[in-house]
Amino acid sequence: AQTVTQSQPEMSVQEAETVTLSCTYDTSESDYYLFWYKQPPSRQMILVIRQEAYKQQNATENRFSVNFQKAAKSFSLKISDSQLGDAAMYFCAYMDFGNEKLTFGTGTRLTIIP
């Protein structure tokens, strides 16, 4: 079974600074997707960024980028120019190619310090 591990229960960063959230996963599959979701206090899960395992290029969405290391099974999220609105729980998630089931990690609570 696939597993996703987030070893940082909490992180904090000064506003406008850069922070990196860590995620490792375990799978025997070669084709899969990895995601970072944001869950603010409103509870709604919002997709931040997605990475296809077959793509070597790291995904980027504005201030959000990932460092995908397939061999190491590592998938970290970098948030640049942190803003107050970035404060939330961040979940790393895995999905097999061809299967819609998401497997989530336990989350990292990100606090932005003004």
Partner: protein, 113 residues
């Protein structure tokens, strides 16, 4: 366009009771998935339905059941509620299946006393 909607927003039930949670997907979306998120944990997959057929089931007891209606809305039913069923129940919809573009609703907070 409206996003995924869930009802009720929150509810309180007593152990042993039954509960029904409802989800309306984004218009045109035919796949609905249910997740349970216990406080302090990540969501766990319960069910996926596509075109009214069950396409996937997580490691949950038979007390949990679901169905999808012709308009693609879905219900999650939980019988004989336990204290451990207290959680946020999330619904996600996608246009087709499998899809890496899933859109989540705001969830239903269930408290079992």
């Amino acid at each position: 366009d409206a996003g995924v909607t869930q009802s009720p927003t929150h509810l309180i039930k007593t152990r042993g009771q039954h509960v029904t949670l409802r989800c309306s997907p984004i218009s045109g979306h035919k796949s609905v998935s249910w997740y349970q998120q216990v406080l302090g944990q990540g969501p766990q997959f319960i069910f996926q339905y596509y075109e009214k057929e069950e396409r996937g089931r997580g490691n949950f007891p038979d007390r949990f059941s679901a169905r999808q209606f012709p308009n693609y809305s879905s219900e999650l039913n939980v019988n004989a509620l336990l204290l451990g069923d207290s959680a946020l129940y999330l619904c996600a919809s996608s246009l087709v299946t499998p899809s890496y573009e899933q859109y989540f609703g705001p969830g239903t907070r269930l408290t079992v006393t």
